[in-house]
């Protein structure tokens, strides 16, 4: 087999034993890699119905088909487990040298089972596995942990994925970090913490065997050249953070916990402002010629020394959505999240829920007591120190508020409403328990559907349905009978990239056209040159459909029903008040109508279940036997 080793490594932390599983080539043809393979491994290895923080929930890591090859932006891996936030599939991606090391060590994937009694770090040295005492690493931040491991081995080719204090404290917003990048969403870090797994390190010394190195190198070179030209210029110069002003102008920028879509001080927390005043450098993921990540550095003031990786989603969540207009404080809050191992998006949205709850008089200053502020603090919108302090409290579950917010908006609001007889769920901005992204769905009707039906919840990466809305390909303020198909197409398009996985920012660099006709033939060539297969255009479509289907199947088996495809109360009941999207909501009737269209477009039943014959046609016979109807 080319491009794959054919081997999955299973590591049991309870017994400290390992085993090797061989997979046939046909299995790889269906699941490929990234989030699809990781989700399939989760399907095969989870104890169905288990608590996400129980030993029966495996950590499933799947490498990238192109990791360790010449293919640009192919240095990514996928990770999946049952999400501690949603109770459904939690899948995440990260661009990382960890992915390259995994491949070079001769593994297509790793499944971590069980739970350790003591804190442990696991070292995979090609085909050897060592369990190491992780006690010296406890409490360390994510970059500090990686540096300590490199120092311990005296080898910077030992690549690690690790959790910070947030994961150690089972914070449901915790992520997994590698090379400064994150497998960021759905609370994977808490799953690692529940197993007392602080770090997984890999050293790989083998090459990656591909079927047609000459062709692969030629296509890679052409794509790499294009990736350094105008198609990616914006990413290189400003990164995604330039979306702050774009979304503000469109009335879509989540502001003060999604109470508005326009922030009066957006300029002060924009990508353009970052570029002019705080940008230290740009960095790149593994195998990436684009280098989109903007690093912000605070040189003076109370947050001097903060240095964080700044993306749009981090900026909206911890900036305008918390009412902050102080870029230095936002960089500090992002830096804290990066080092503590917290998802910036879920953390920011959870803090903004607490701030609104405070401003409505339900929380008081005393609820915010902590070691730094023994009498508590005012948690009104715009209070920079409150946001920065809350990131610290959440990561360590410090005090009443730290422990509460560590649960995320859905659980925190349910607890408060039960204890105090309130209705804070009305401003708990999550979808299926995962905090919402930086695009207010009230002004993006197709994306409202894409997010509601999304298998991992409040996410902008798995459904790309905001793109046709924002680009004006459809009317973003209204609903029509095309939207089910548009949502299906955009999520399956995104799933192709997430499965290989390659970064979506490369999508225009194959031919200049980002759509299927522009990208699929080149992607098929890359896959064929790597594996020796003979995939065609239609097969690339199938990659996306299968990836999405296995995740949906996982959710169905865990108890998903149609009513889970829902949106936050606010988006249904409170019209936008300011800006270009003012006056709009997504009515429940609109959403239910679009869900009908979407399920039909997917070939599913009106209840959103998957027919057996559909699953069999996708090569998922065993899945059909379990959940097909």
């Amino acid at each position: 087999m080319y491009g794959y080793s054919g081997k999955i490594l299973h590591i049991d932390l309870t017994t400290r034993k390992t085993r090797v599983e061989s997979k046939p080539e046909d299995w790889y043809k269906v699941y490929i890699g990234g989030v699809s393979m990781a989700s399939r491994l989760c399907w095969e290895n989870i104890e169905v119905g288990c608590d996400p923080l129980a030993p029966g929930n495996p950590i499933c890591i799947a490498g990238g088909l192109f990791a360790g090859t010449s293919v640009p932006v192919g240095g990514k891996y996928g990770m999946a487990s049952k999400s501690p936030l949603t109770g459904f599939i939690g899948d995440s991606l990260s661009g990382s040298w960890f992915s390259v090391a995994l491949k070079r060590a001769g593994w297509d994937g790793i499944v971590v089972h069980g739970a350790s009694d003591e804190w442990v770090s696991v070292f995979v040295d090609d085909d050897k596995v060592e369990f190491r005492n992780a006690a010296p690493l406890l409490g360390k931040g994510t970059s500090e942990t990686e540096e300590a491991i490199i120092e311990e081995f005296g080898d910077d080719q030992v690549r690690s994925a690790s959790i910070g204090p947030a994961g150690e404290h089972l914070v449901r917003l915790a992520n997994v970090s590698n090379d400064g990048r994150k497998a960021g969403r759905t609370g994977q870090g808490a799953v690692w913490g529940s197993k007392k797994l602080k770090a997984l390190s890999i050293r790989g010394t083998h090459g990656v065997r591909v079927a047609d190195p000459e062709t692969l190198l030629k296509i890679s070179y052409d794509v790499m050249k294009a990736a350094q030209g105008p198609y990616t210029q914006k990413y290189r110069i400003l990164g995604t953070s330039s979306n702050v002003l774009n979304m503000n102008k469109l009335g879509l920028l989540p502001t003060r916990n999604y109470q508005a879509g326009t922030f009066e001080d957006a300029e002060l927390v924009s990508g353009e402002y970052l570029h002019e005043h705080y940008k230290a450098k740009t960095i790149a993921c593994a195998q990436c010629p684009i280098a989109c990540e903007q690093v912000g550095h605070v040189k003076e003031g109370p947050y001097a020394g903060a240095m964080g990786h700044i993306e749009y989603e981090s900026l909206y969540a911890l900036g305008p959505n918390c009412g902050l207009n102080d870029m230095a404080a936002v960089i500090k809050a992002i830096t804290n999240c990066n080092e503590f191992g917290l998802d910036t998006m879920s953390t920011g949205v959870t803090i903004s829920w607490a701030m609104e709850t405070y401003e409505r008089g339900i929380f008081t200053k005393e609820d915010f007591k902590c070691e730094k502020y023994p009498d508590g603090f005012e948690a009104n919108f715009g209070n920079s120190e409150a946001v920065v302090t809350l990131t610290e409290m959440i990561a360590h579950r410090e005090g009443y508020m730290g422990d509460l917010l560590a649960e995320g908006t859905r659980r925190a609001s349910a607890r408060v409403d039960q204890e105090r007889g309130t209705e804070t769920f009305k401003w708990a901005m999550n979808v299926k328990g995962l905090e919402a992204p930086g695009y207010d769905a009230r002004g993006l009707k197709t994306f409202a559907l894409g997010m509601a039906v999304g298998v991992r919840g409040g996410c902008h990466n798995r459904s790309a349905a905001y793109d046709p809305d924002i680009q004006g390909e459809v009317d973003r303020f209204s609903v029509d009978d095309t939207r089910g198909e548009v949502a299906r197409e955009t999520e399956e398009y995104a799933a192709v990239y997430d499965t290989l996985p390659i970064c979506k920012f490369i999508r225009r660099c194959f031919t200049g056209k980002a759509d299927r006709s522009g990208a699929w033939p080149a992607i098929a060539q890359l896959i064929n040159a790597t594996t020796g297969w003979n995939l065609e255009y239609k097969d690339i479509d199938l990659i996306g459909e299968r990836a999405h289907t296995i995740k949906k199947a996982f959710n169905i088996r865990e108890g998903w029903t149609r009513k889970d495809d829902a949106l936050p109360y606010r988006w249904h009941h409170e019209p936008m008040t300011l800006g270009a999207s003012a006056g709009h909501v997504v009515t429940k009737e609109e959403l239910e109508y679009m869900k009908d269209l979407y399920y039909k477009a997917k070939g599913w039943t009106p209840d959103g279940l998957i027919p057996k014959e559909k699953l069999i046609a996708l090569g998922m016979d065993d899945v059909a036997a379990e959940i097909g109807v």
């Binding site: 105008p230 198609y231 210029q233 914006k234 990413y235 110069i237 400003l238 990164g239 995604t240 953070s241 330039s242 979306n243 002003l245 774009n246 102008k249 469109l250 009335g251 990508g271 353009e272 570029h275 993306e311 749009y312 989603e313 981090s314 930086g438 902008h460 990466n461 790309a464 905001y466 793109d467 924002i470 680009q471 004006g472 979506k504 920012f505 225009r508 800006g579 270009a580």
Partner: protein, 94 residues
Amino acid sequence: MRVHVEFLGLARLATGLKELELDLENGATFRDMVRTLGTQYPALIGNVIQPDGETLQHPNRLNHNAKRIVQAHQMDERPSDGDRIIVMSISAGG
């Protein structure tokens, strides 16, 4: 006719301006407007505006009154006096 033009992202970096008032001939189209901008701010050519001087380079877009993106096939439509045009470069992800 006068339109209000705002520059975001790459357009702002190229021009060094956040916004300006742009005078156009009565009946001017969006294409005419882009041509005028390219003439007045040559740094936009190759960065934001295609070398042809009259169409935008991906991922730059014209937004009309914050309500709609002017599509390639709509470049011969006409803005009205007092309209707000945003030159923006939209990207996904983050």
